[in-house]
C-alpha cells in the first residue's frame, strides 16, 4: 500500500487515510451507478401500458405469484455456509500467530480440535445424506 500512496503525502496515507480512500472510491462507485440510472430516467420517454409493466419472464406471460415457498433443505446449505464462514474467520488470526514464538504445537492442536468438532457436523450431514442432491 505504501508505494502507491507515497506520492500523495500525509492526507491519504496511514490507517484512516487509506480507509478514507476506500470510502471515496465507494462513493464514486455509487455515484456512477445512481447517476447513470438518473440520467436514463431524465432522457427516456415514459409511456407505460399494462402489457409493458408485466414482469419479463423469458418472453412468456408470467404465471402465478413471484413468491414461492422454498424447501427447508436449502436452509441447511445456508447454515453450512455460516459454519464455514465462522470457521474461516478464526483461521485468519490463527494463521498469523501459530508459528510465532510462544505458541507452537499447542496452538496447532487447539485449532485442529476446533476444526475436528466442526468436521463432526459435516460428517453427520454427509452420513444423513443431506449433501446428496436427489
Amino acid at each position: 500500500m505504501e508505494p502507491v500512496l507515497a506520492g500523495y503525502g500525509g492526507e491519504m496515507s496511514g490507517y484512516f487515510g487509506a480507509y478514507a480512500l476506500v470510502a471515496v472510491f465507494l462513493a464514486i462507485g455509487v455515484a456512477v451507478v445512481a447517476g447513470a440510472l438518473f440520467v436514463n430516467r431524465l432522457l427516456r420517454p415514459t409511456r407505460p401500458t399494462p402489457e409493458k409493466l408485466l414482469t419479463y419472464e423469458c418472453g412468456v406471460d408470467p404465471v402465478g405469484e413471484g413468491w414461492a415457498q422454498s424447501q427447508v433443505r436449502y436452509y441447511v446449505f445456508t447454515y453450512l455456509y455460516v459454519v464455514f464462514a465462522v470457521d474461516a474467520v478464526f483461521l485468519f488470526p490463527w494463521a498469523t500467530v501459530y508459528a510465532a514464538p510462544g505458541f507452537g504445537m499447542t496452538t496447532l492442536v487447539e485449532m485442529f480440535l476446533f476444526l475436528g468438532f466442526i468436521a463432526l457436523g459435516i460428517v453427520y450431514a454427509w452420513r444423513k445424506r443431506v449433501l446428496a442432491w436427489t
Binding site: T78, V82, V89, P93, L115, G121, Y124, K128
Partner: protein
C-alpha cells in the same frame, strides 16, 4: 492514560463515528417498523454495515471485516432463506404486529438502559487513543490463543450442536427413539 481532549472540538473520526451510529440506529428502527418482511432483512444489512463502519473508525479492523463477512454476508443470507421458507407474502403485510408492541418496547428500553448504565459506570471518562494496528488479526490471534482458548473451543461445540439441530429439524425421516 492518554490526555483527554475537549469534547467541544470533535475530530473527524468522532464525527464519522457519530454519523455511522445514527445510521445504525435509524436502520435498526426501520428493521422493526417496516411493513415488508424482505425490506426488514435488507435494512438489517444497512444496520450491520454501519456497525462495521463504526468498528473501522475505532481501528478494530479485523472485527469490522468479520462483521461484514459473517453478519452482512452469512447471517442475512440465513435470514432471507428463513423468510423464503415461510408463506409470508412478498409485499406489505398488515398483520406483522403481534400485539406485543408495548412489552417489546419496554424490554428494548430496559436492555438499552442496562447496557448504557454498565458502560458508563465501567468506563466513566476513561479515554483510549485510537492507535491503528491494535485491532489487527495478529493482535486478536495472540489474545485468543493465549487467554481465550476455552471459549474458542466451546464455540466449535455450539456450532456443531446448531448444525446437527438444523439437520434434524429439516428432515422428517430422522426421529428420536
Amino acid at each position: 492514560m492518554a490526555e483527554v481532549p475537549s469534547y467541544l472540538s470533535p475530530t473527524g473520526q468522532e464525527i464519522v463515528f457519530l454519523l455511522l451510529g445514527a445510521v445504525a440506529v435509524g436502520a435498526a428502527l426501520l428493521v422493526v417498523t417496516t411493513r415488508q418482511l424482505v425490506h426488514a432483512a435488507l435494512w438489517l444489512v444497512v444496520c450491520f454495515g454501519a456497525l462495521a463502519g463504526c468498528y473501522l473508525v475505532l481501528t478494530a479492523e479485523f472485527v469490522a471485516w468479520v462483521q461484514v463477512l459473517i453478519y452482512v454476508g452469512a447471517v442475512v443470507a440465513l435470514l432471507l432463506f428463513g423468510l423464503m421458507l415461510t408463506r409470508a407474502p412478498i409485499g406489505r403485510s398488515a398483520d406483522l404486529d403481534s400485539g406485543n408492541r408495548p412489552v417489546a418496547a419496554l424490554v428494548a428500553l430496559a436492555t438499552a438502559a442496562l447496557l448504557v448504565t454498565v458502560v458508563i459506570d465501567g468506563f466513566r471518562t476513561a479515554y483510549a487513543d485510537l492507535t491503528p494496528g491494535r485491532g489487527a488479526a495478529k493482535e486478536l490471534g495472540s489474545s485468543i490463543f493465549r487467554n481465550w482458548v476455552l471459549p474458542f473451543e466451546a464455540l466449535s461445540v455450539l456450532l456443531l450442536a446448531a448444525l446437527i439441530g438444523a439437520i434434524v429439524l429439516s428432515r422428517t425421516d430422522i426421529r428420536g427413539r
